[in-house]
């Protein structure tokens, strides 16, 4: 009975759970899908507004494909997540657990189902009783659940956030904005490209971003330029294969000395070059290079400004060609068109290096002769009076304030000559391992007879072999004669007595 009830409850709960999973997946996926579509479409619109038409370079596909991707990917994501949620298996115990949680049954239904399926034999009688009591409780709970009806708690009806509404509205707007841009052939028309729009945009951007000095010069030059020159000037901009450096980068080089920020020049160049991506890349490279140079020049300027004002004035007066930036070969007032044959950035850097050497020579001459190079000068003598701290030894600090031998004392003590005496003898006596062997020896009595005392007598036996000192013949003779004289009676004729204290030592050869 209980088992049938549980099965019925589980199957009904399974359906409800599946619906709930579907709803959860839908809610969870809708927002990222919308955001993704919005992001893609916004990207396309942004590119169109920047003048990047589809069909070139990275975006080499028609707009209809872009739209399809922008709307298709989110739709695919939505379908995939929802179908995955629907396909998710829901077991009987899972369904009963959901019911337990919903009806606050304390896992009674799930536990009862497990006990019914369980093949493990119950231990004691009281354990069996507890199992039966659990099943009885579950049966009551199942009946109550059937009466209450299986209404799993619906997900909270969260209000759709306004941000989502706006995102959805924007998505529709963008779609409508982009759809008219698709012509019958499937190609796209960039936004703002209606005949003279491009040229107009060029002139407008030129007018807004060019520096004031160039603005002053430009009309005069424009007047001088013929329509053919104008056409020739516009030609490389629209063409994609132009290898020449963009005008903006050159302009930034020439006008850097006038304090015009390079970034603005770079951006103006970018806005002018509405042509191919390759042109754009060149522009960015040149922009970076000019940025680096600008930095270098700034540091050089600062260095040069420091010594004195007079020198600065002299330089600015004498070397007009160098320009205020100190690195350019062109006059700041020179036209950008007059330097079309300017060398590339690498060559210019090399030239700048040469210029640096020349500048240094000029500086030395201005000081009244050849001066030693700054980099060759030695640092001043260390006047550190400390003698180091702790174990950390300061090699320059010797307590005397100048280069000298190592000294370890200061004041009067340093004037006293002394021989350093070590405090203690280094090293260990008896270096090496010490091994102590202990032996267990039983004490045993030993015979130790006392030796009777007696008077000392002359030796009865030969003493034994004695050391034979290597004596010289004269010494041996001397000893022999000495002993003979002792044995001979005093005053015996024929014998001479040689006093032992006065041996006759032969002279050495």
């Amino acid at each position: 009975m209980l088992e049938a009830d549980l099965r019925m409850l589980a199957s009904e709960a399974e359906g409800k759970l599946r619906e709930r999973n579907y709803e959860i997946a839908l809610r969870a996926t809708l927002r990222p899908a919308l955001n993704l579509g919005l992001l893609l479409l916004s990207l396309y619109v942004l590119l169109l507004l920047m003048g990047r038409a589809f069909g070139h370079g990275l975006f080499d596909y028609p707009l209809w494909l872009g739209l399809a991707l922008g709307l298709g990917w989110p739709a695919l994501l939505l379908v995939w997540r929802v179908s995955a949620a629907l396909r998710q298996p829901i077991g009987r115990l899972q369904s009963l657990r959901a019911l337990d949680e919903h009806l606050d049954l304390g896992e009674r239904l799930q536990t009862a189902a497990e006990f019914l399926d369980c093949q493990r034999p119950a231990g004691s009688a009281i354990e069996v009783g507890f199992r039966q009591a659990t099943l009885e409780d579950a049966a009551v709970a199942a009946l109550a659940a059937k009466k209450r009806g299986l209404s799993l708690p619906s997900l909270p009806r969260s209000e759709v956030p306004p941000r989502l509404v706006w995102a959805f509205a924007l998505l529709i707007l963008l779609t409508f904005l982009l759809l008219p841009r698709i012509d019958a052939t499937g190609t796209t028309i960039p936004i703002g490209d209606d005949g003279q729009g491009q040229a107009q945009a060029d002139t407008e951007e030129d007018g807004t971003e060019r520096d004031p000095l160039a603005m002053h010069q430009r009309p005069r030059e424009d007047k001088e330029e013929t329509p053919q020159v104008e056409a020739a000037r516009l030609e490389p901009k629209r063409g994609s294969g132009s290898k020449e450096e963009p005008e903006s980068s050159r302009q930034s080089k020439g006008s850097a000395g006038m304090g015009r920020p390079t970034e603005s020049a770079g951006s103006s160049g970018a806005s002018q070059s509405t042509g191919s991506p390759s042109n754009q890349a060149q522009t960015s490279k040149a922009g970076k290079a000019s940025k680096k140079k600008q930095k270098k020049r700034k540091t050089k300027e600062e260095k040069k400004r420091k010594p004195n004002k007079a020198r600065k004035e002299e330089e600015s007066g004498s070397t007009v060609g160098k320009g205020a930036a100190g690195g350019s070969h062109r006059s700041p007032s020179a036209s950008t068109w007059s330097s079309k044959d300017q060398v590339s950035s690498d060559e210019e850097e090399a030239l700048e290096e040469e210029d640096e050497v020349d500048d240094e020579t000029d500086e030395q001459e201005a000081r009244g002769g050849v001066q030693p190079q700054l980099r060759d000068r030695r640092p001043p003598v260390n006047r550190d009076l400390s003698i180091g701290f702790g174990s950390g030894k300061n090699p320059d600090a010797n307590g005397r304030g100048g280069p000298s031998e190592q000294k370890k004392s200061r004041g009067v003590a340093s004037l006293v000559l002394g021989v350093p005496i070590p405090d203690h003898i280094k090293g260990h006596p008896n270096p090496g391992k010490t091994k102590i062997t202990q032996e267990k020896v039983q004490p045993s009595a030993e015979d130790a007879p006392a030796i009777p005392a007696e008077a000392r007598t002359p030796a009865k036996k030969a003493v034994g072999p004695m050391a034979d000192p290597q004596m010289n013949p004269w010494m041996r003779e001397l000893v022999r004669r000495y002993f003979l004289s002792l044995r001979s009676p005093v005053g015996k004729p024929g014998e001479t007595r040689v006093p032992p204290s006065q041996p006759q030592i032969p002279k050495k050869d």
Binding site: R97, E107, I126
Partner: protein, 336 residues
């Protein structure tokens, strides 16, 4: 119609709740508040576990245990641990006594460890050597001294206290001994409303004492009831996952465990989870353990079994943080 066994089981469960309630009431005649601590100590008594009570001085840890000893009529002994205490001081030793017929003889004298309810006061003040003398008594319920083995009488329960702040001159409990405690209960300060009652009970002429309401045999009968509570498979799996989740390198260990835990719980942790959850289920009027019961007892059971590594200590993680994160991360297993 309900079966007889089920009826008996229901009666047994009711009896258990009654015994629990009367002992609790007796203890509460002396102890004001600290309900969770009393519940934990009683749960340990009913499943045959030991409790480590940690709290600052003056919170009534010792009085609680003493009151429990009074409420349950069992042999109660108290050991005040000191640094110079030796294992023989608590286990027992042979001493020379006067013989009846004159002369002397060696006689074995049992230590205070031989009792039913042992209060090991300030256990971390004893040296590890003396602390280790408790290991055998706590796990095997016996004491081996030389060739003599003393089997301790059931119910046997060690209730130890320690002070977490005064660490100088103390010896932290070794992991092997910590693992033998069923619970580590942190005793907190009483609530505001409890202070008034505490002052009234303790500053008057009448000394409040707990009356004896139970005895050892009844406690043993309650243990039988508790151990008979069935555990469904999903709750068992959940307890296993929780314990494995404390072990760095296991499949269930969350990030906080991998990074900040040196040593996780042993299988004793899982045993303790299930046993304590059984008591919780009976007290809640259920006849089987649920995952909620396991979650309720997990902090007290796992707190002292999780050892934080150096990095975790440096970052200020505590075992409680780890257990809390573990309960959040380890999901309840869903059957099919």
């Amino acid at each position: 119609m309900p079966k007889k066994q089920a009826v008996d089981a229901r009666k047994a469960a009711e009896e258990f709740r009654a015994v629990h309630d009367k002992i609790k009431a007796a203890v509460q005649e002396v102890i004001v508040g600290q309900e969770e601590v009393i519940e934990a100590v009683l749960a340990a008594l009913f499943v045959g576990g030991h409790v480590l009570l940690e709290g600052v001085p003056g919170l009534g840890k010792t009085i609680l245990v003493r009151s429990l000893g009074e409420a349950v009529e069992v042999a109660f002994s108290r050991i005040q641990f000191t640094p110079d205490m030796m294992p023989a001081d608590i286990q027992g030793t042979s001493i020379l006594v006067d013989a009846d017929g004159g002369g002397h003889e060696v006689q074995f004298q049992q230590g205070p460890l031989v009792a039913n309810l042992v209060l090991a006061d300030e256990i971390n003040r004893a040296t590890p050597k003396t602390q280790s003398a408790l290991l055998e008594a706590m796990q095997e319920k016996q004491i081996s001294i030389g060739k003599r083995t003393i089997h301790l009488e059931e119910p046997y329960c060690v209730l130890a206290t320690q002070n977490p702040v005064e660490q100088e001159g103390t010896y932290p409990l070794p992991e092997a001994q910590l693992d033998r405690f069923l619970f580590k209960v942190v005793v907190g300060y009483p609530k505001e409303e409890d202070y008034r009652e505490i002052l009234q009970r303790t500053t008057g002429n009448v000394e409040s004492r707990a009356s004896a309401v139970s005895h050892g045999k009844e406690i043993l009968a309650m243990r039988e009831i508790v151990r008979a509570v069935p555990v469904p498979e999903h709750a068992e799996t959940y307890a296993i996952h929780l314990v494995m989740g404390t072990q760095p390198g296991s499949a269930f260990a969350p990030g906080i465990v991998e990074e900040n835990v040196l040593l996780g719980s042993s299988p004793r942790g899982a045993q303790a989870l299930i046993l304590a959850a059984k008591v919780r289920a009976l007290l809640a009027g259920r006849f089987a353990v649920t995952c909620e019961d396991i979650q309720d007892v997990a902090p007290d059971v796992l707190r002292h079994r999780v050892i934080i590594n150096f990095q975790g200590q440096a970052e200020g993680f505590t075992p409680d943080d780890v257990v809390r994160e573990l309960l959040d991360q380890v999901s309840v297993p869903v059957g099919v």
